[in-house]
């Protein structure tokens, strides 16, 4: 055995010692070190990095398996946890097709003729999302739901140059945190947060805050509590002052609920994880970004367009690149470069697989099962439904015990309980946000309820 990791002994480095010798000779130097003459001598590391030694494939698998086994996972636990990351069913075709390495080992389609697969898939993604959202245009994805919302707010400011942003407190708290970071650290816009009533935005308070200086009104529906906002009334209030209307939606809910294009949203965004992407402990996900046609030149991110080749055959290219950083540098609409193409591909395959009927069916199953659970839990003495507005797949319950205690007991029964709302809303400290997707069977729900029932 030679030196471990020597010439060609690392499977990912093919150069043999013999190759190296030939190459050095062609270059005209004695050793690889001779190629570092631009690096000041005193900077060149004399000692090895203080890192662990290399692992063989088997050792690596054994070690990482051990790490993975320290994490409870949803193959073993039944989950009622949502709050921005959702356990929806993913058909096998999504995993298999997105795992084709022609997709995942390619890069941003700078050379369109060599990337027609990715480009057409992106074009299909833009088309599917535009139709589901009923919006004019969609980009090829952003990082995830929170940054998509932040980019939307910045875009709105770039359109109307107004200084105030109105957020409703029913937007995912982490999205609001990200928005605050982005806006405080970048544009210095002011943010006002509108309170809620019965789990949805308090329209009277909103009316009082909206004025001619309001750049955008930003809502989420279904909101963080799972409740449906009064999207049409908010649209009227927003547009009356000439502000832009930004909504963040759950794409699955659009199987049943009015899409943002039908209530005149100017920019509609969303977390696309629900469309065929695994939980992955929070990422990678994808940020869906759509808007009205008139704003397209202000849109951030990559956009794919249809065109023809020189023989008249249809093909696809990145387009409107003059908005982007590699051309416009500091004048670009956003600094984004790499997006989440593979996650968008998964969303594309998911939407194509489920299709018209399937998305409606998934949405309906979520709605029916969550309402079944809500009704049953409401009947347990001590558990009290709160925030009484209509909801889609998540609802809030006031509990007779501290939520962490409830979750601990559920845990022992191989159930992951709801989200402890007190974490973000001190006024809701004894409440759990419970999520029921199509993956929960009646048996799961009944068992969940009977365990809750035994607690009181």
């Amino acid at each position: 055995m030679g030196e471990k990791g020597g010439g060609a002994l690392i499977p990912y480095i093919p150069n043999t010692k013999e190759d190296q010798k030939k190459m050095l000779k062609e270059i005209g130097v004695e050793s690889i070190d001779d190629l570092f003459k631009d690096i000041p001598q005193n900077l060149q590391l004399k000692a090895e990095l203080n890192l662990p030694s290399s692992l063989s494939e088997m050792e690596l698998i054994n070690w990482t398996k051990k790490l993975s086994q320290k994490n409870a996972n949803l193959d073993e636990y039944v989950s009622f946890l949502g709050a921005g990351s959702y356990d929806h069913f993913i058909p096998a075709v999504v995993n298999h097709l997105s795992a084709r390495s022609e997709f995942y080992t390619s890069y941003t389609p700078y050379q369109a003729e060599a990337s027609q697969g990715n480009l057409q898939a992106s074009y299909e993604y833009q088309s599917l999302i535009s139709r589901l959202f009923r919006m004019d245009v969609c980009n090829a994805s952003l990082y995830e739901g929170a940054t998509a919302l932040a980019e939307a707010v910045i875009m709105a400011h770039n359109i109307n140059h107004r200084q105030k942003v109105l957020l409703t407190k029913t937007i995912h708290p982490e999205y609001r945190q990200v928005l605050a970071t982005y806006i405080k650290k970048t544009l210095g816009l002011s943010i006002a947060e509108i309170d809620y009533e019965n789990g949805i935005t308090d329209l009277n308070k909103l009316r009082k805050e909206v004025d001619k200086n309001t750049s955008s009104v930003v809502i989420q529906s279904p909101n963080f509590f799972g409740c449906l906002e009064k999207v049409k009334q908010i649209e009227e209030i927003t547009h009356k002052s000439g502000s832009l209307y930004i909504v963040s939606v759950d794409p699955i809910s659009l199987g049943l609920l009015t899409p943002p294009g039908d209530y005149n949203a100017d920019i509609a965004v969303g977390e696309g994880q629900v469309l065929g992407n695994q939980l992955n402990f929070g990422g990678p996900y994808l940020g869906i970004f759509t808007c009205k046609k008139e704003f397209i030149k202000k849109m951030p991110g990559r956009i794919v367009g249809e065109t023809l080749d020189k023989e008249g055959k249809r093909g696809f290219v990145l387009t409107l690149q003059t908005r982007e950083q590699h051309i416009r540098r500091e004048k670009a609409t956003s600094n984004i470069c790499t997006n989440e193409a593979l996650n968008a591909l998964r969303a594309t395959i998911y939407l194509a697989t489920l299709g018209e009927k399937g998305i409606k069916e998934v949405a309906n199953l979520c709605l029916q099962k969550s309402h079944y659970a809500w009704e049953k839990i409401s009947q347990i003495p001590g558990f009290k439904p709160i925030l009484g507005s209509p909801f889609f797949k998540e609802f809030s319950i006031k509990c007779p015990l501290p939520p962490h205690k409830i979750n601990k007991l559920l845990w022992k029964n191989k159930i992951i309980g709801g989200f402890d709302l007190g974490k973000f809303y001190p006024e809701l400290e004894d409440s759990l946000l419970i999520c029921v997707t199509e993956k929960r069977t009646k048996e799961d729900i009944d068992r969940f309820i009977s365990i809750l029932g035994e607690m009181v």
Binding site: S68, H96, Q111, G117, S141, Y175, H326, I327, N335, E356
Partner: protein, 485 residues
């Protein structure tokens, strides 16, 4: 062969999925949700059988050039081989099927892994602490610039300018501008490095940071880095490193040793996580002590008994994305670093540099090399130094496709006329490099003798050259047809 759009494959009455029947008592929609909220329009989604879908997306995949199919020397993108075992590991249920809001005692394995990745990146770079939250390189740049801004606000110093060399990636000025900084360009000298006189002239007490890519986008190590570092630090500014080209430095130098205060890493470049057709990437930020308090929340910490998230960091800029980062990508980078270990990582950079210099040597007789000196992991040729039969760099790139190679990055950096930026990476063999060199040398001959072959390229791809002007003029950004009933 033309692959129809999924909408054109649609046939009403087919389906590609199966879901269970509703097993709870099904109620009328209107009883659960008031009618005003319900969708009146159809979804407009197509329907197809499972095999239709499988063939469609499989065929689409076959229209891509990828690392697994072809040599892909896209400069500054580090298109190296992505080990398969890392994919398998990242997809284990104990990683992929874990909810970000599970209680921390149920995710100790992931927290340990994240903690270890931070430590590994600290050792590689010499930074004091790393945040794994940014989702991509540009996101890491943005995060870093926000931190620098917060630092000076904290110190009540008014610094509104960021200096950026003319050879930098477009994301650098875009990220700085996004953060509200004024961007001032610093010229390159005739050796491709930062022009020190120009830097001194522009370096004043208004400058918050100099953003440097090291090695720079010409693939050259900044010879005067220690002078530059001194000039920047003497004015109380920060030295930021764009880590896009870190693949050249592993185990050879540590950025902290030449005065870097803050930097981002591209896990999808240096640490071999797949580029995914344009993401997901991951762009962790590493900082030296002074900037550490400003890193995004939460950080991952190791307590006496367990690993935990720390949200109690009062000076932090806050969150830059939901949850904690692109964890699945980070897991693959962890696997990569552990597979190679300290010995392997150094060999990565050694062989990346060797491959680039070898290829440069083989090509410089056929194409103009504007900066003639040993390169690091990549080098830049000019495709348009002298106009030959009106051939443009774009034509050379398209012609390479006919030889089965993905073209290099073209027209970047902007300081080289018709740039061809070539980064072979360490995972390519001498045979592949030789074949690529032969193809380019052959094309150089064709430029003089058979220019029409370049002008008409590519011929071997699924479409001929596409009309980008038409695409931008007559915008078609989605399928506009009506689904067959």
């Amino acid at each position: 062969m033309r692959e129809p759009l999924i909408f054109e494959i649609n046939k009403k009455g087919r389906k590609g999925y199966s879901l269970p029947e509703c097993d709870v008592e099904e109620k009328e929609l209107k009883r659960l949700i008031p009618e005003e909220y319900l969708r009146k329009s159809g979804l407009g989604l197509p329907e197809a059988s499972e095999l239709d879908l499988v063939r469609h997306f499989t065929r689409l995949s076959q229209k891509n050039v990828s690392i697994d199919t072809n040599f892909y020397p896209l400069g500054s993108c580090t298109m190296k081989y992505n080990p398969k075992v890392n994919e398998d590991i990242a997809h284990l249920s104990g990683f992929a099927e874990v909810h970000p809001y599970q209680s921390q005692n149920t995710v100790q394995g992931i927290l340990q892994l994240l903690y270890e990745v931070e430590k590994l990146l600290c050792e590689i770079s010499g930074m004091d602490k790393v945040s794994l939250q940014p989702a991509a390189g540009a996101h890491g740049e943005l995060t870093s610039m926000m931190m620098i801004k917060a630092y000076y606000e904290d110190k009540k110093e008014k610094r509104d300018t960021v200096l950026i060399p003319d050879s930098a990636h477009g994301t650098n000025p875009a990220s700085s501008h996004f953060c509200g900084f004024r961007v001032v360009e610093v010229k390159s000298n005739r050796y491709g490095g930062v022009d020190l006189n120009d830097l001194i002239k522009k370096m004043d007490a208004k400058v918050a940071a100099l953003m440097l890519t090291i090695p720079n986008t010409l693939g050259l190590f900044e010879k005067n880095i220690l002078n530059i570092s001194e000039i920047v630090h003497n004015k109380g500014s920060f030295l930021y490193m764009d880590g896009a080209n870190l693949n050249a430095l592993l185990g050879i130098v540590k950025p902290s040793d030449f005065g870097i205060d803050i930097m981002h890493f591209n896990l999808h470049k240096t640490f071999s996580t797949p580029h995914g057709g344009g993401g997901p990437g991951s762009g962790p930020v590493g900082a030296k002590e002074e900037l550490v308090p400003y890193l995004p929340i939460p950080t991952v910490e190791k307590g006496e008994e367990n690993y935990y998230f720390d949200y109690n960091r009062p000076k932090s800029i806050g969150k830059v994305r939901s949850f904690y980062g692109n964890v699945e990508v980070i897991i693959k980078a962890y696997c990569y670093i552990r597979s190679l270990g300290k010995e392997g990582l150094k060999k990565v950079s050694h062989n990346a540099i060797l491959n680039a210099n070898y290829l440069m040597k083989r090509l410089k007789r056929s194409f103009y090399l504007p900066y003639e000196q040993p390169c690091m992991h990549e080098f830049v040729l000019s495709g348009e130094n002298e106009k030959i039969n009106n051939i443009r760099t774009l034509d050379i790139a398209k012609r390479l496709l006919d030889f089965g190679f993905h073209p290099p990055t073209i027209y970047f950096p902007l300081i080289v006329k018709g740039a061809l930026m070539i980064e072979p990476t360490e995972t390519e063999s001498k045979e592949t490099l030789d074949a690529f060199a032969s193809a380019l040398i052959y094309i150089a001959k064709e430029m003089r003798e058979k220019p029409h072959l370049l002008k008409n390229a590519p011929q071997e791809t699924s479409v001929f050259r596409l009309d980008e002007v038409k695409a931008a003029k007559e915008l078609k950004l989605k399928w506009q047809g009506t689904l067959d009933e």
